[in-house]
Amino acid sequence: MASSFYTVVIVFLVVALINTIAWFLAPKKGGNTTVFRSTFILALSMMYLMWAITYLAQLHPLVVPRRSDLRPEFVE
């Protein structure tokens, strides 16, 4: 389970790498370099954050799912 926390770090590194590549691959012509860089990197970062928060919240939840209406065939 402890390795799960490192998933977040590894994905972070991957995202950072992609962002760095995107910085250099941004179209230089057409006068939209800044817009491309900002939009791409910011979007990817925010998507990463959102994912990471969702993932971390499920690592060790303090509440467990519970239901009392489950038909027996759904229990694996």
Binding site: M1, S4, F5, T7, K29, G31, N32, T33, T34, V35, S38, T39, L42, A43, M46, M47, L49, M50, W51, I53, T54, Y55, L56, A57, Q58, L59, H60, P61, L62, V63, V64, P65, R66, R67, S68, D69, L70, R71, P72, E73, F74, V75, E76
Partner: protein, 905 residues
């Protein structure tokens, strides 16, 4: 039309003699070197131009097409009506008024204007299929005069026709009323003759030959009043009879149809009769004589019928003539309106220019802001001129004016000579334009270069305030953060997809829709189509993470939980229900929320805690990100004191409280509290206790927690006075140093008293100079001298605001939590209330109906209404929570002079 030829010649000679001009022409489209101007606004320069008087109009036209320069008003001391080109503008105003009148007539007769935008040739002319700028034609003064004359003649003609038409119509009404009265009178008398009423009135006619009855018609609602009044006036000495006229008659005064009644009044005596006339006339009645003899009645009727036929023919002819005239007008009205509007805009701008009297009125001086990297382009265009295009467009213009007035050619002869004078006096007038860059201490306007994609995002920020010159543009990060913050509140794959599809249609067909006439709300959606597109896309992503698709969850990955039965009434045969709890597997659900949570009793409890922490973390990161822009600003403006006195204490304050909270949230997630058999501490209480009882820990999160928290608290507390004091103290020291320096200088001179006076004088003089420089527009002044008190007050306000805002803004991000929960719950409720009932009923018809209901409500309530509300919340988060961290927003917007042509409407 004819004068264009010599102008062209002049340009040709110019190109032959001045090679620099020709080179300039080749550089027209070399725009690649421009600064992107999205992160910061473009650098601006104040440019001064000397323009020979005779080509000033042509130059203004060219500048209007370029849209590069924002002119400063050089004539603020001259009153508005004393400006040089006021008369021209008045003339154009008059033409515009006449065109508006034509338009109302066109509307009245239901004739459509010839729409320029549907004309492919028109678009080519303005946008240029190859993306190059086409310069509009410069109509010469004669053409404008011609337009004015045509409009005058046309107006007179139309007014005359409309008046005539009105006259004829009222005549027709009179006759029709008369006819109706005759008909009714006929009915009345014939019923008398049949003796249906026992009332004998036949003797009345024989009494002296003069009739003793009045006939006519009255508005129906006034019949009672008239009867009452007459009854009183004549003391009951009358016979009043009225009948309804079936057909309502037209009232030309109120332009509406009025129901009327026929009446006949018997009474006697001339005096009384006159009274009756007066009463009826004062109550909008009309009196038409009806002879009591039936033969006369039919003769009268025939006469009136004949008149009516003649009148109808005349009316039809006049009307068709008017419509013909108007149709002719409708084909050219928009085009000539455009010409007039452009001309007016040109003169309005030329009124801002200084008429250089010293130069015996041959030169106009213009001053304005131009993006620094466009000065060369501007100069090239002005000096070499786009002559080729002028002649092309001139053709279309002149052919147009021929359409309107086939006959008048006298004015064009005038301008011909004018143009000849032009070309003879100055060989190549265009090269006489002098463009100078002048240095100034005035604040330049803020200009962000936007395109169709970035425009809407930039507008969001500009709505709040224009960024200061060269400060970080809040519009750039908004491109992502705005739709993303929206998506956190709107997270649902299905709803996001609907929004995405709608936006995609707007984007794919933007060319077609752009030309359409749009109403206000649709125009807003169209303007923000790229925002909508991003909002839809990000909503799909967040919906994926929330695992919500129309409130249902999707099972993409293997769940991180399995069920363990702890009770229930299951009998093993598939009957009854079990009570189950989840037990965690080895794996974690890799992407998004585990679908297993869906529909559980504890699901809401979990997503509640998850979304609350999510909103705090996202909010904190968003604010920190925005706060970093203030560092970038301070670095760019090289204000070290702002970094030390504002940025660093603020950052430490924020990080030591809310940064610490964020770290604790993540740390708490990473610990397996159940396995460790420890009590998980509540973070909210922890944060509150950190302030209320420092050093006391209820439940320990990590070792040495109390000392860490005390240190953090001390750090935050130290930041408050440093935020408050560093900047004012620095200001005081600098001021003292400056004074000391001045003092030292005066001591060195040895004449301290005199010098002080001299210094005062010098100060006055400097102030005077500054006044002379800036007196014409105070708003553009650079900041005046600040005193210590100003700085101190400003800093106190800033400190209080910042510390309070840290708390309230973090709390404000909890709206993300609230709205996303509400959205998820609402969509779930909608599902169970509509389509779920349909599925349970298992009737196709029910499912069909309820699906329709569900879908309509989904679009109307969940996508449109909830979407609007989430958008407004996201807007607030940007304007208040994010932009307050770095945005000064006291800039002046850059409004270059560019032709703005709207169709007549």
């Amino acid at each position: 039309m004819t004068d264009l030829i010599p102008t062209k010649d002049a340009n040709h000679t110019g190109a032959a003699t001045g090679t620099s001009a020709a080179q300039g022409g080749a550089k027209y489209n070399d725009k690649n070197e421009k600064y992107e101007a999205m992160f910061r606004s473009a650098e601006m320069s104040l440019v001064e131009m000397f323009i020979p008087y005779e080509i000033a109009r042509a130059v203004a036209y060219k500048l209007g097409d370029l849209g590069l320069i924002q002119f400063r008003d050089l004539n603020t001391k001259i009153r508005a009506f004393q400006r040089h080109f006021v008369d021209d503008i008045k003339k154009l105003d008059n033409i515009e008024r006449q065109y508006q009148y034509f338009l109302t007539l066109l509307d009245q007769y239901g004739i459509d204007l010839h729409d320029l935008h549907l004309d492919p040739a028109y678009d080519d002319q303005f946008n240029g299929s190859d993306g190059t700028l086409h310069f509009s034609s410069v109509p010469n003064a004669g053409d404008i005069d011609e337009l004015a004359n045509t409009a005058n003649v046309l107006e007179n003609k139309l007014v005359e026709m409309v008046d005539g038409l009105k006259n004829l119509k009222s005549q027709k009404n009179e006759l029709e009323q008369n006819r109706a009265v005759l008909h009714k009178g006929d009915e009345f008398f014939s019923s008398l003759a049949a003796g249906s009423s026992g009332f004998d009135l036949s003797g009345a006619d024989s009494n002296g030959g003069s009739s003793n009855f009045v006939t006519g018609c009255l508005p129906r609602d006034k019949i009672g009043v008239v009867e009452q009044i007459l009854w009183r006036v004549l003391r009951g000495n009358l016979y009043f009879h009225s009948m309804e006229i079936e057909q309502p008659s037209y009232d030309s005064k109120t332009d509406s149809f009025v129901a009327k009644n026929f009446f006949i009044i018997y009474t006697h005596g001339e005096v009384i009769m006159n009274r009756v006339y007066k009463v009826i006339e004062s109550l909008d009645g009309n009196i038409y004589p009806v002879p009591s003899v039936s033969l006369e009645r039919s003769l009268n009727l025939q006469k009136i019928n004949n008149q009516l036929t003649d009148l109808n023919i005349l009316l039809e002819n006049t009307k068709s003539l008017l419509i013909q005239e108007l149709t002719l007008v409708s084909t050219t009205l928009n085009h000539s309106y455009e010409t007039v509007v452009k001309e007016k805009q040109v003169y309005t701008v030329m009124n801002l220019w200084q008429y250089d009297a010293e130069n015996s009125g041959t030169t106009l001086v213009a001053e304005g802001w131009v993006p620094t990297d466009e000065i060369e382009y501007l100069t090239n265009v002005l000096i070499s001129g786009g002559s080729g295009n002028v002649s092309d467009d001139g053709r279309t213009f002149s052919s147009f004016s021929n359409d309107v007035t086939p006959g008048s050619s006298s004015s064009s002869g005038n301008t011909n000579t004018n143009a000849n004078v032009n070309s003879s006096t100055s060989h190549n007038p265009q090269s006489n334009i002098i463009v100078n860059v002048i240095s100034t201490n005035k604040t330049p306007p803020t200009f962000h270069r936007t395109n169709k994609f970035t425009q809407a995002f930039q507008d969001i920020c500009d709505c709040y305030g224009t960024a200061q010159y060269r400060e970080v543009n809040a519009g750039l990060p908004t491109i992502v953060t705005f739709p993303f913050m929206f998506a956190i509140m709107f997270g649902d794959m299905g709803h996001g997809f609907l929004m995405f599809l709608a936006a995609l249609m707007l984007v794919l067909y933007e060319g077609k829709i752009g030309k359409m006439k749009r109403d206000e709300i649709f125009d807003m959606a169209f303007g923000g189509r790229y925002i909508l597109l991003f909002m839809g896309l990000f909503s799909m992503y967040t919906g994926f993470l929330y695992n919500d698709c129309f409130s249902k969850s999707l099972t993409f990955f293997q769940s991180g939980w399995h069920w363990v039965t702890i009770g229930g009434s299951g009998d093993g045969n598939g009957n009854g229900a079990l009570i189950v709890v989840g037990e965690q597997n080895e794996n974690i659900y890799p992407f998004g929320l585990d679908y297993l949570w869906h529909g559980t009793e504890t699901g809401l409890l979990f997503s509640n805690s998850y979304k609350m922490k999510l909103s705090i973390l996202m909010g904190f990161i968003h604010m920190t990100y925005s706060y970093m822009f203030s560092l970038v600003n301070h670095l760019h403006f090289k204000s070290m004191i702002d970094i030390i006195g504002n940025f660093i204490p603020g950052l430490i304050f924020m990080q030591s409280i809310f940064g610490y909270l964020s770290v604790c949230i993540v740390y708490k997630w990473s610990i397996d509290w159940i396995k460790d058999k420890r009590e998980a501490p509540g973070l909210l209480n922890m944060l509150i206790n950190m302030f209320l009882s420092p050093g006391n820990i209820d439940a320990e999160l990590y070792p040495n927690q109390s000392s860490v928290q005390i240190w953090l608290l001390l750090l935050a507390l130290i930041c408050v006075p440093s935020l408050l004091l560093i900047k004012p103290i620095h200001f005081k020291i600098m001021e003292n140093k400056k004074n000391k320096l001045n003092h030292g200088m005066s001591l060195g001179n040895g004449e301290s008293r005199d010098n002080e006076e001299g210094e005062l004088l010098l100060g006055d003089e400097q102030q005077n100079v500054a006044n002379v420089d800036n007196d014409d527009d105070d708003e553009e002044n650079s900041h005046g001298n600040e005193t210590f008190g100003d700085v101190m007050i400003h800093q106190v306000i800033h400190t209080i605001e910042f510390c309070l805002n840290c708390v309230s803004h973090t709390a404000s991000y909890l709206r993300l939590w609230a709205l996303s929960l509400a959205h998820a719950q609402l969509s779930e409720v909608l599902w169970t209330m509509t389509i779920d009932i349909g599925f349970k009923s298992q009737s196709v018809f029910m499912i069909f109906i309820l699906f329709a209901l569900w879908f309509v409500l989904t679009v109307a309530v969940l996508v449109v209404m909830e979407g609007t509300s989430a958008m407004l919340h996201s807007l607030r988060l940007h304007w208040v929570e994010s932009m307050s961290k770095f945005f000064v927003g006291e800039g002046l917007p850059y409004l270059p002079f560019k032709f703005e042509i709207e169709d007549l409407a």
